[in-house]
Symmetry: C2
Subunit: 161 residues, 2 copies
DNA sequence: TGCTCATTGTGATTCAAATCATATCCAACA
DNA sequence: TGTTGGATATGATTTGAATCACAATGAGCA
């Protein structure tokens, strides 16, 4: 198990077809690979896109700390709950069929942090479509692009049904 | 927070477009809505497709038990870890583009328990495609159908690259 | 028994995202 | 300075899943 002090580390896995899937994006203060505490044969790859500082936590020590320090255990439960919630949100978002709606939802959730290519990968869309959708949205006035590669929603327009 | 004693309860949420997404499927021994322990405004709907018995756990009491009973806290961490793992697996599976590969992966993971319609919904595919893929696979001999509505993999054929 | 209804199943068509191709911009770097 | 490579961007084409339409099956039930 790992604790991220600085930077950002992505937990990735590749499908049989070879595409890379980001399972989790951990920032400063996040812990990584908690499930490894209970299972031995869990395998993901970790990628640091920027320089990062990571603290390695020994499995046995963490398990020990959990029995002695209830606050520590509760903190862990809290982290995991947050992760579960974010996974649920992601699942919901990925269920959106229309590329435009998905991009809008992704923007609303603040996923557009790095490059458009990375954003597209998070959304499970090809980057071409995302570029197209973004320029359409900018043309429509729903999205602003203050700078190259920076996009943000104009406002939360209420669900037009 | 809830504890499922018997039956099965699904945690669902509907997207703006109106489609229903199953966030979590809880069986006997599972707990439901753990994130609600730490956040007040989390909303999902729970659906019991069969008759089920559910124990309601008071938020304050659970939080109290966590500080006093370390084993309880650890158990909770374990549950949540397992959930996180299964979400990651689902994410990986949903990233598979080809409908056929996705159906195969779903079968391998043992998702085809109830009806084909439910299976298709879990896979994020239309039931028509799933029916088609399944009959193709049966024709190809990759999948067996011992009975109407029952499908299982012939064997784990090693990743044909 | 006949009726209803959900599930199963298949065919035809549409449509939107993937893919392929290509070009520009820009930062890092030698 | 020129060169490389990644991100940005857009156009043309293809593909495959969604959608629409329609049957057949089978269980529950009056």
């Amino acid at each position: 198990m790992f604790f991220i002090e600085q930077g950002e580390v992505r937990l990735v896995r590749h499908t049989e077809a070879g595409q890379l899937v980001t399972m989790f994006r951990a920032g400063p203060g996040d812990t990584l690979a908690e499930p490894s505490l209970f299972s031995d044969h869990y395998h993901c790859d970790a990628i640091a896109d920027r320089d990062s500082t990571v603290r390695v936590l020994d499995k046995a020590i963490v398990l020990g700390a959990m029995t002695e320090d209830t606050a520590f255990a509760i903190g862990l439960v809290q982290r995991l709950s947050a992760q579960v919630q974010s996974y649920r949100r992601k699942q919901e978002l990925l269920a959106i069929r229309s590329a435009q709606d998905r991009v809008l939802a992704g923007l609303a959730d603040g996923w557009m942090t790095g490059t458009v290519v990375a954003f597209a990968s998070d959304l499970g869309l090809s980057h071409e479509v995302v570029f197209r959708v973004l320029s359409d949205l900018v043309r429509d006035g729903q999205v602003e692009r203050p700078a190259r590669g920076v996009y943000c929603l104009k406002r939360t327009d209420q669900a037009a049904s």
